[in-house]
Amino acid sequence: MLKVDGVLGGRTGITDGEELKIMIQLLKKYRGYATTLISLYINGDRPIPDVLNMLRNEWSVASNIKDKTTRTHVQDALERIINALKGTAKAPPNGLAVFGGFHMEKPGSYKWVMYAIIPPYKISTYKYVCDTRFHTELLEDMISASSSVFGIIVIERGEAVIALLKGSYWEIVDKVEFFVPNKHHAGGQSALRFKRQTEHLAETFYKLVAEDANKILLQIPNLKGIIVAGPGPTKEDFLKEGGLDSRLMDKIIAIVPACCADISGVLEAIKASEDKLKETEYVKAKKLMEEVMYIAVKKPDYIVYGRDNVLNAIEKGIAKVVLISEDIGEDEIFKLTTMLRGKKIDLVVIPNSVEESLTLSKTFGGYVAILATPSWIIEEWENASQSLTQ
């Protein structure tokens, strides 16, 4: 992402969904005086002169607006956007989203903002809106449609949860509890009758879980895969006797052990099937944090943390991957994004939905850089430059 200042050339887009999400959050904060904020979606490869004509047309239409402040805001914004786009032949393959307008800091006080975004996913429609806010819905749809969803079923005797892993977070969406008696309740009654009754109840329970799973998971169009987890043979019995829809059965990508039908079981299920989920932002972030912890202990020279140290490592060109926590705030994230643009450094925002984000914010002050060369090089470097100037 870049703030547009006249020229479009040489610009790269927002690289991932995480970055886009933060951008959306920022865009949502702006407010216009009346309907003066312009959201413009240009579909991929569209000729820009074509777009400019439409915008000029909008400019003339705007001269009919009665309220003077509104009129000048809209026309002024259109002019600036036209100027920024001028000279470009066509939109990039993924398209371009432009947001421009005067943000009302307080009545009578306005600040010009403009963002041109080349999103990580394709824009397929042309859209122009003028409103009191920026329209981010198209970008939001993009995120939810692009991130694949994984279903997770954790089942124990008498207890089960269904969770969804969506991009950068997971959530438990259903819990099934059912009374399947334990062994010692047999006391007094016929062992055989008890046995049959228990088996029957176990089967009823499997059916209830499968029913819920069918209801929830069949509705998800971008369901990529299903993980079935739990202790011991219960999960296999569930698959055999529960009656999970055959379309869902086909989507099972892993059957793994997990201790409990709750948060911890879901975490274990994700961890145990990490290899099959590595494309999700959640697992990517988790694995990176794991790497950070590993390096911090085994090769501590290859890591720096805290804002100043990380910025220094970036400046000196020895940072390889920079991890920042969502907590440090949008403005700060933008600053770093801009700073790293064009550099061969990966910037990863660790979302708060990842458990280890707490390590990043609490232990490392929100900033970590994995280094290409050991950190002592910086010191040597500084010493060397000092001796040169002496």
């Binding site: 005797r157 509890e177 009374f179 008696p181 334990n182 062994k183 010692h184 309740h185 047999a186 006391g187 007094g188 009654q189 016929s190 062992a191 008890f194 046995k195 228990t198 088996e199 176990a202 202790p231 011991g232 043979p233 219960t234 019995d237 052990p257 201790c259 409990c260 709750d262 948060i263 911890s264 975490l267 274990e268 961890k271 145990a272 794991e290 912890m293 590993y294 911090a296 202990v297 458990e355 280890e356 984000s357 707490l358 390590t359 990043l360 609490k362 232990t363 490392f364």
Partner: protein, 444 residues
């Protein structure tokens, strides 16, 4: 007719002890438990003959003793114990509640719940070549169960070296196993000289009730003698009532019954009690142990309590019962001292393992590493460490992700010690030092 006979009234008048049967999968825990019951006349002969016939028919005759304990379809099909099973039996001196526990690593959760109620543990290890070795290996449950038993405060330990028939009752194999286990026990600080190692065969019945002629070289006690010689641990009767719930069920016509072991205090028929975290209040209608009615139950007793005012769906395993004037503590945050047993990399803030405390199992997040301590002296060696790793002892702040009852270890040890597990491994053991209580409103 149940296959296990109910204890007589005179048996129930003896002092009670809870015995956990622990050990690696397939080492013969259920078989040995079945055998103990059989030898002491607690198995109904007619019912056992039927069970024997059924096992034979299914080609699983070698499991006939284990099936006295393993009753679930999935247990019998796979030949593994899944759920803990409580049964009563007696020695000359004591009335025992035996808790036959699962050895399979997927069911360590159930093992901990059962073992948390025990005064003593009987570790069953198989002498069969390879079986003993996998049990004490790094992933083995012989090792893990011993560690958990120590963490749970079990200091009375007996080792049964089982399947001696498979190794021709070889004294060398016995000595080798005893030697290797002694090393692990010493690391855990068990007093090895006080731990009997008894060579047995659960299937053949050697050294269980009478001394076996197959092992003339052994001159220690037989299993029943060793059980009879256990020193009962102190019972905190004068402390406030705490009963962690092991199970809840409803009996048509009778109402809701909770089961579990009274960890401290005394509960009487007619008492008003409260279960936390759900904050449900009820009146004790009746108390039972092994089908005998009691007027009161005290620390150490394993009981079923029929409560007016409790509904089955409101309560679950892990909830804790106490009296209204001194209710159990629901924790919002916990400060604990933990010892890291095993972790592939390192533990930082944000780590989210499972906490096992009394009968509760709750996901818990480490939200602060307060300090690192010298394991020998307990002195602080580092304030606010960035991470802790295997072998470290540390003070940490924990946040249970679901409401759970705990107590300070110094007040009520049974509710103040816990283990942390993750990805099928026991990662750490801990003791609760401080609790930030959650606000809970108790309404009648």
């Amino acid at each position: 007719m149940s296959i296990i006979k109910n204890p007589t009234e005179s048996a129930l008048k003896k002092p009670h002890l809870n015995l956990a049967i622990i050990g690696h999968v397939d080492h013969g825990k259920s078989t040995l438990t079945g055998r103990l019951l059989l030898e002491t006349g607690y198995v109904d002969e007619k019912a056992f003959a039927e069970l024997e016939a059924e096992a034979k028919k299914l080609g699983k005759e070698d499991f006939k003793y284990a099936w006295i304990m393993d009753r679930l379809k999935e247990e019998r099909e796979r030949g593994v114990t899944i759920e803990a099973m409580h049964v009563g039996f007696e020695t000359p001196k004591y009335f025992f509640t035996i808790i036959d526990l699962p050895g399979h690593r997927d069911f360590v959760k159930n093992m901990i719940v059962g073992a948390s109620q025990a005064d003593a543990a009987l570790l069953v290890v198989s002498a069969r070549p390879g079986e003993f070795e996998s049990g004490v290996g790094p992933q083995g449950q012989t090792r893990e169960h011993l560690f958990l038993a120590w963490t749970l405060g079990i200091r009375n330990l007996i080792v049964a070296v089982n399947k001696m028939d498979v190794v021709n009752y070889d004294q060398k194999r016995y000595e080798q196993i005893k030697g290797e286990l002694s090393k692990i026990l010493k690391i855990l600080r068990y007093d090895v000289n006080k731990v009997p190692f008894i060579p047995v065969s659960a299937v053949r019945g050697d050294n269980i009730k009478v001394k076996s002629s197959n092992m003339p070289w052994y001159n220690g006690p037989v299993l029943l003698e060793a059980l009879d010689a256990i020193e009962p641990p102190p019972r905190p009767i004068d402390k406030p009532l705490r009963l962690p719930i092991q199970d809840v069920f409803s009996i048509t016509g009778a109402g809701t019954v909770i089961t579990g072991r009274v960890e401290s205090g005394v509960v009487k028929v007619g008492d008003t009690i409260v279960a936390l975290p759900p904050a449900k209040v009820g009146d004790v209608r009746s108390i039972e142990t092994h089908h005998m009615k009691l007027e009161e139950a005290k620390a150490g007793d394993n009981v079923g309590i029929n409560v007016r005012g409790f509904e089955r769906q409101d309560l679950k395993r892990g909830d804790v019962v106490g009296h209204l004037n001194n209710p159990p503590t629901v924790a919002e945050e916990i400060v604990a001292r933990i010892a890291v047993l095993e972790h592939p990399t390192t533990i930082g803030v944000g780590y989210t393992p499972v906490m096992h405390v009394h009968t509760a199992t709750v996901p818990t997040q480490i939200i602060e590493l307060i300090s690192r301590l010298d394991p020998a002296t307990g002195q602080t060696v580092e304030q606010k460490p960035q991470f802790i790793k295997r072998g470290d002892v540390a003070m940490v702040r924990l946040k249970p992700l679901k409401p759970v009852v705990v107590e300070r270890f110094s007040d009520l040890p049974a509710l103040g010690r816990f283990s942390l597990r993750d990805m099928g491994r026991t990662v750490a053991a801990g003791q609760i030092i401080e609790i930030k209580p959650a606000k809970v409103e108790i309404k009648r």
